[in-house]
């Protein structure tokens, strides 16, 4: 324990020493770690970051619902449901395959350009739609892995009690499946949260876009550091919260049993 601590401290001290004594350090420090720039740009970026948070929260709600829907469709058994399963497969293949930024570009610029009546033209709206389409494909696969990990004997038990296929899914399969996939779900949501920065490309002024604006005005890169810190400050509590959720669930089920 003590040795690990000492070796860690020494390791980072050496790296630190090498970096701050490099010939380019004063310029890098000025360009990336400028305290004054940081203080000046942070409030504006933090305000723009609220757009990211809004994007993320709205998209996440729709993703959780749409992805679950796709995953359930894909697990329908029998030849009758083949067309539905095939559709679900095509959907996931397509939207996992296309780079997110292409989807955002195509919908963000293409859909409003159609000039159809009733079709929203707001970039924010199309940003949400793009993220929902792309991430639902990933999250549907996560759900599906969860659904398939529930042992068939659970289905047998549920059906043997006279529960319908849908009731078995709702009360027996999905609750167990979702509990199991909470860590990978969170993983995808951190990914989603970071990808909200991609929508800068269609003109939504969020944190990254704001940092670009600040940086262009001052020829200083510190605003990007501020942006990075905001993203990290948002994801870390989310990760700890998930850890806590998992632990609480396990404790509740196994109190008294060996962990």
């Amino acid at each position: 324990m003590l040795i690990a601590l000492i070796s860690t401290v020494v390791f980072f001290a050496v790296i630190w020493w090498i970096v701050v004594h490099s010939s380019g350090w004063p310029e890098v420090k000025q360009a990336f770690f400028n305290g004054k720039q940081f203080r000046e740009s942070l409030p504006g970026i933090a305000k723009a970051f609220l757009v990211n948070v809004r994007l993320f929260l709205i998209a996440e709600v729709f993703i959780l619902i749409l992805a679950l829907f796709i995953a359930v469709l894909r697990s329908l058994p029998g030849p009758v449901f083949f067309p539905i399963r095939a559709l679900a497969i095509v959907y996931t293949d397509l939207f996992r395959g296309i780079p997110t930024i292409l989807v955002i570009y195509t919908l963000g610029f293409g859909a409003p350009a159609l000039q159809l009546q009733g079709v929203p033209t707001s970039p924010f709206f199309w940003a949400v739609v793009s993220l929902v389409l792309v991430y639902s494909a990933y999250v549907a696969e996560v759900y599906r892995a969860g659904i398939e990990s529930v042992h068939p004997s659970q289905v047998a038990a549920a059906r043997s009690l006279g529960l319908s296929r849908w009731q078995s899914m709702r009360f027996v399969i999905l609750p167990q499946a979702i509990r199991r996939v909470i860590p990978p779900l969170l993983n995808d949501f951190i990914g989603l949260q970071k990808d909200t920065a991609l929508v800068a490309s269609i003109g939504v002024v969020e944190a990254f876009r704001q940092a670009q604006i600040d940086s262009a005005a001052t020829f200083n890169f510190t605003p990007f550091l501020a942006t990075a810190l905001l993203f990290v400050a948002f994801t870390i509590p989310l990760a700890r919260f998930t850890d806590w959720l998992i632990l609480r669930d396990r404790r509740r089920r196994q109190t008294g049993a060996a962990l």
């Binding site: 043997s160 009690l161 027996v172 609750p175 167990q176």
Partner: protein, 253 residues
């Protein structure tokens, strides 16, 4: 429909079932009267479990028919969920729902499938738990119970649907020896209360004590059936004799 003998609970006629190329059931015929306890014995792979799963419609049969109180349940257009509510099945591996408390395991099907009110389902659940000595476990999760307790909960879960018929599929095979008795006592009480049961079991002593009739399954057919004292002391078929000799040699009878 009306040509059944009075009081017939279950009838299997020429039931065939294959998995891929392997034919597991090769024409099963069996009639069970109401309140009768039938034990199925036979080596692993002889088709006991498959037979029970076919009665519960968990496996579709390839040929023949299954009838409950004279009504064919394997006909097309039968509401399988409705049929299953009348037939309780208990599995070797308990198959309790691990994410639900004991009482919720028991009340799920009555409230969702039978539309019994939560209060009523809970009252009945608690009543059953007390009857089988598990009243204090109602709000525990299955992981916290012993195997014997879990299996008793699984039996109660099936009973909560007020089935006409119970199917028990080697319900003590996954238990430590010292936990077997508590589960067998529950089954004994059920038999005493007049429950019609078909029991696949390796507990020969239990089958001899409890069964009204014992069926020996061999290679997908009921090779021999009769009263337990006849099957266990004077089996007619050579295969039955060999099977029982192995059981005796293993110290299980």
């Amino acid at each position: 429909m009306t040509d059944r003998p009075m009081g017939e609970a279950l009838r299997l006629e020429n039931v065939h079932k294959s998995f891929g190329k392997i034919e597991v059931l090769k024409g099963i015929d069996l009639a069970v009267r109401q309140h009768e306890v039938v034990c199925l014995i036979g080596a692993s792979g002889s088709g006991k479990s498959t037979m029970l799963r076919c009665i519960n419609l968990l496996e579709p049969i390839d040929q023949g028919r299954v009838m409950i109180e004279g009504q064919e349940i394997t006909a097309s257009g039968v509401d399988v969920n409705r049929v299953r509510r009348r037939i309780g099945i208990v599995f070797q591996a308990f198959n309790l729902f691990p994410h639900m408390t004991v009482i919720r395991n028991i009340t799920l099907a009555p409230t969702q499938a039978q539309k019994v009110s939560s209060a009523e389902a809970e009252r009945r659940g608690v009543e059953l738990l007390s009857r089988f000595g598990l009243a204090d476990k109602a709000s525990d999760y299955p992981d916290r119970l012993s195997g014997g307790q879990q299996q008793r909960v699984a039996i109660i879960r099936a009973l909560a649907m007020k089935p006409d018929l119970m199917l028990l599929d080697e319900v003590t095979s996954a238990l430590d020896p010292e936990l077997v008795a508590e589960v067998l006592n529950v089954i004994r009480e059920l038999a005493g209360s007049g429950m019609t049961m078909v029991i696949a079991t390796h507990e020969m002593g239990f089958a001899r004590d409890l069964a009204d009739r014992v069926c020996f399954l061999d290679d997908g057919v009921i090779l021999e059936e009769g009263r337990p004292e006849q099957i266990f002391s004077a089996p007619r078929e050579q295969r039955t004799q060999q099977f029982l000799a192995r059981i005796v040699a293993a110290g299980r009878l």
